[in-house]
């Protein structure tokens, strides 16, 4: 294992220029909304103003009469030529099976649900027409929080259900009851995870073009998973997958929310076939915040059984997840299932029981967002460990070391079936503690607190399943990736992948990997993604899978291409392949030299030079499946979902303004291990961005609804995300423990957003620990919540303190 450290920089470092940068910097990036074929028509979507209502009548007469309006479709009209969505999870007996339409027909279940679509010459006219459509609603009482939704007699989102439970999933591993009965004590707490939004700056969108003469549909969509979307579009339109080309152009961020198939993407496809005319739907920010994808909302009732020496004996958690309206593919319950799987974290806790209840409410659908259920789980276990440390008056680092899976227990299978393939948790933690000079820092913080300042130090750690088997969560696909890899006659390479970069720099890192194998300049490699016609299938980019799966398949393909070229070079030079060495883009055999372009040229242009029986060309479609993941849980409920596991540990120092409740992050240090690093600059960018999102989720962001289910955070003026200068530059420390997969990679994009919030929360709890009643049991630690804690402890706030009159 090797270690590298990046200290905060002051503008003097040199970085790697990415291949994609030139077009982004000069405004030449081609995003979804930049594509405008001739005669493009615009779709505007009429959305429910009611949280829960029966749709009685929709009168679009005036809208259709508006000049510039081409068509208006209600749900019923659209359904004449559209199939239904489903979750593809019929194999799960405790999951309520549902189907839903592109547009709501009989009932709406949240404010923002699509109920009609206007097609017009411009978005302006289309939105004018929306105002002219009259909808008769029969309002129903709404349920907007999980406890109200589970109460006896609660209004039902689905009348044929007996309650509002989409999924119930109990799990018991080891002997949980025995662990609790043997325990010296139990820590109990209820944790609230608040609802947030992933918020890529570019929203969703789709441009659909149907050619009636060929029967082919081209759907451009701002999606992370073009092949998966193609399957959904086929299901809805009735076209075959061979007739559909999904193109994902340059994508302005995704963060998991664009891993879902949107109803509006299917809407554009169906309308393009019906009108027939090229059409575009571009999600605006209000739509994004009210009718896009939201995330995270869960309540955990957790219990940690311990021995008085600090050893944890067992863990129980009742996880109540708010799914909102469940009409979303991939299912919004999937992150909550992940929550159950990862809660034991880095700890040796074989006795673990959980009960997952996924509850539907009259709110926007919950879906994936960076971290995918793990931030909730790791927040809970990492707060519990600090609470246990406080209870036993032990050091938070010591209690973690005592309970971490021991080095000699590796490889270790967790209670839920994860086969951990990581480096040492304790060494990683020690690395963090040394980096921050933990004991000295702890003393300094305590000294400041003794003098009255609200200052705290918190640590947290995590292990993260990366490159997951999608089948376990989506009911389809698996854990593999595909690439089309071609060495052209001039020796330059093009490679096409099924992952989809949304800013992660895949054009650069894949080119770098291929160039290294073939010993050619990175400039000789072109990377293509985001087009279902380029490569037979791909899982897209999510779940920290692209370096592991995409990088893995690129390496595998490059090595196959190299092997074929060595065979050709050997034949051309009349030597054995074992005598050939490839370096600096040339094949050497003793004194003889062949440039790579000569070998590649022979494969296409002078095929008589090839060994007998060899097919011409150097081009291969390569699939890569590590083969170590499960599509379903085993009979005991254990599931190893990840191809490999990544780890991280974080430390935070915060200070709290006692009058305003504003938390200032003073210092944030992260130790991060994603195996072999492909490009440290790009990796640091991923981690820094994930930390920014963690800061946002902890101190700034929350989606709010009124008691009636009306969304209250509908613009970026009231849903605040972190801005420049809101937090200090984090210090990043890399450990490189290679995985056993091709390339030695582990996933990299999500660890920091998982491990940072509990470190911040533990620091806040440390700062407030001297107060009698300062349980930090919510993920939103914004000023309002801190002020509530201070007031609950009788602290008189003076928000204007320190300001001159």
């Amino acid at each position: 294992m090797s270690v590298t450290t990046s200290e905060p920089t002051t503008g003097t470092t040199t970085g790697t220029r990415r291949k994609e940068d030139l077009r982004f910097l000069t405004g030449q990036g081609a995003y979804l909304g930049d594509y405008a074929p001739a005669d493009l028509l615009h779709i505007a979507v009429l959305r429910s103003t009611q949280a829960h209502a029966l749709l009685r009548n929709i009168d679009a007469t005036s809208a259709i009469a508006l000049p510039g309006v081409v068509a208006v479709f209600t749900g019923a009209e659209l359904a004449e030529s559209a199939g239904k969505f489903q979750h593809h999870l019929a194999a799960i007996p405790t999951l309520r099976q549902i189907e839903w339409d592109v547009l709501a027909i009989e009932k709406v279940k949240y404010v923002g649900e699509p109920i009609a679509a206007v097609v017009a010459e411009s978005r302006y006219v289309a939105e004018d027409a929306l105002d002219l459509i009259e909808v008769d609603y029969d309002e129903l009482p709404a349920v907007v929080d999980v406890e109200a939704a589970l109460a006896p007699g609660a209004p039902l989102l689905y009348e044929d259900w007996t309650d509002n439970l989409l999924l119930q999933m109990p799990g018991a591993h080891g002997d949980v009851d025995a662990a609790f009965s043997e325990a010296d004590g139990v820590i109990r707490a209820r944790f609230h995870n608040h609802r947030i939004s992933g918020m890529p700056l570019e929203g969703h969108g789709a441009v659909a073009e149907f050619d009636a003469s060929t029967g082919r549909l081209v759907l451009r969509a701002s999606t992370q998973a073009p092949h998966m979307l193609r399957g959904t579009i086929a299901q809805i339109t009735g076209l075959s997958e061979a007739q559909i080309q999904v193109i994902a152009p340059d994508t302005g961020g995704g963060f998991g929310v664009k891993n879902h198939a949107m109803r509006e993407e299917a809407l554009a496809a169906v309308i393009a076939m019906r009108v027939p005319h090229p059409v575009v739907w571009e999600q605006d920010r209000v739509e994004h915040l009210t009718a896009g994808i939201q995330s995270r909302e869960q309540i955990h009732d957790a219990e940690l059984a311990y021995r008085s020496d600090g050893r944890v004996l067992g863990l129980r958690a009742r996880i109540t997840a708010d799914i909102g309206s469940p009409e979303l593919y991939i299912i919004g319950a999937a992150p909550a299932v992940v929550t159950t799987g990862v809660m034991p974290n880095t700890y040796d806790i074989p006795n673990y029981g959980f009960e997952l209840n996924c509850v539907v409410t009259n709110k926007c659908p919950i879906g994936g967002y960076r971290g995918y259920g793990q931030p909730q789980a790791i927040f809970t276990i990492e707060r519990l460990m600090d609470m246990l440390a406080a209870e036993l008056e032990m050091d938070p680092a010591e209690i973690r070391k005592l309970n971490n899976v021991a080095d000699d227990a590796m490889p270790y299978t967790t209670a839920t079936g994860a086969n951990l393939d990581t480096g040492s948790f304790n060494q990683q933690l020690d690395h963090l503690l040394e980096a921050i000079d933990y004991s000295t820092l702890r003393e300094q913080v305590e000294a400041e607190r003794a003098s009255g300042a609200l200052v705290g130090l918190g640590i947290a750690q995590m292990v993260e399943p990366t490159a997951p088997n999608m089948h376990a969560l989506a009911g389809q696909f698996g854990c593999y990736e595909m690439a089309l890899f071609t060495v052209h006659p001039d020796g330059h390479v093009s490679l096409s992948v099924g992952t989809k970069s949304q800013g992660q720099g895949h054009e650069t890192i894949y080119a770098k990997l291929a160039a290294e194998v073939l010993t050619i300049p990175i400039e000789h490699v072109e990377v293509y993604d985001g087009d279902t016609n380029l490569v037979p299938f791909g899982g897209g980019t999510s779940g920290s899978r692209s370096a592991v799966m995409g990088g893995g398949v690129v390496l595998k393909a490059a090595r196959q291409a190299r092997a074929k070229m060595i065979e050709i070079a050997a034949a051309m030079l009349g030597v054995s392949g074992e005598d050939i060495e490839l370096r600096d883009g040339m094949f050497f055999a003793g004194e003889a030299v062949l440039p790579l372009a000569a070998v590649a040229g022979a494969a296409y242009l002078h095929t008589f030079l090839l060994p007998p029986g060899m097919d011409p060309g150097i081009s291969m479609v390569v699939a890569y499946d590590p083969g170590n993941t499960s599509p379903f849980p085993d009979e005991t409920g254990k599931l190893d979902v990840a191809a490999t596991y990544a780890t991280a540990a974080a430390a935070a120092v915060v200070s709290i303004n006692p009058n305003t409740g504003v938390v200032t992050v003073r210092d944030l240090t992260l130790v991060h291990d994603c195996g072999n690093i492909i490009d440290e600059t790009i990796l640091n960018g991923q981690i820094q961005g994930a930390i920014a999102q963690a800061i946002g989720a902890t101190f700034y962001e929350e989606i709010h609804y009124s008691d009636e289910g009306q969304p209250l955070t509908t613009t970026l003026l009231d849903y605040m995300i972190p801005a420049c200068g809101d937090f200090p530059e984090p210090r990043l420390i890399h450990r490189e423990t290679p995985s056993e997969l091709i390339g030695g990679f582990r996933g990299a994009g999500e660890g920091a957003i998982i491990v940072t919030p509990p470190a911040l929360a533990n620091a806040v709890a440390d700062a407030l620990g001297h107060l009698d009643n300062a349980a930090v049991t919510q993920t939103n630690l914004g000023p309002r919540h801190i002020r509530e804690i201070l007031r609950a402890n009788g602290v008189a706030l003076d928000p204007l303190a320190g300001r001159s009159a």
Binding site: T9, R23, Y31, A36, P200, N684, A692, G725
Partner: protein, 155 residues
């Protein structure tokens, strides 16, 4: 109605409805799709262009307000063969990932360095706090602008 203004050094006359947002005029009427729209409320800074040298949100301007103005959009700042120093520095310091906010970042940074030739990091952060980026965590953006300022001071 007809609106006349200067765009990236060229005189432009464009037909637009009075209610049309300037961002839409640029994108839909003039094909200048480097100006991106992310929030439509003036909150995120993504659609920033320079109007008479000042960074403004083109989603908050109506088309007629541009009459007689001098406008610079990202298409008027450097090119793939000849990047503006801020563009080059953003690449060098990895101050961009998905690129969606990048045009607005570049244009705000241009006004920043013309107004504050020798900014410290806090000044850069304050100036850039109106340009939201969801990808980078801002480190690379601040590094890039600081590097350009340092280069200019050294000259």
């Amino acid at each position: 109605m007809s609106v006349s203004f200067s765009l990236n050094g060229d005189s432009v006359v464009v037909e637009a409805e009075p209610r049309e947002l300037f961002a839409d005029v640029l994108r839909d009427r003039l094909g200048m799709t480097g100006t991106h729209v992310a929030c439509e409320q003036g909150a995120c800074g993504t659609c920033t262009v320079l109007v008479d040298g000042q960074a403004v949100r083109s989603c908050l301007l109506f088309a007629p307000q541009l009459e007689g103005c001098t406008v610079t959009s990202i298409e008027g700042v450097g090119s793939p063969g000849s990047l503006h120093p801020i563009q080059a520095a953003l690449s060098e310091h990895h101050g961009l990932q998905c690129g969606f906010c990048t045009p607005g970042v570049v244009l705000t940074a241009i006004e920043l360095l013309e107004t504050e030739p020798d900014p410290d990091r806090e000044t850069i952060e304050r100036w850039m706090s109106g340009n939201l980026c969801r990808c980078t965590g801002y480190t690379g953006i601040v590094d890039a602008i600081a590097a350009v300022a340092a280069q200019r001071s050294a000259q």
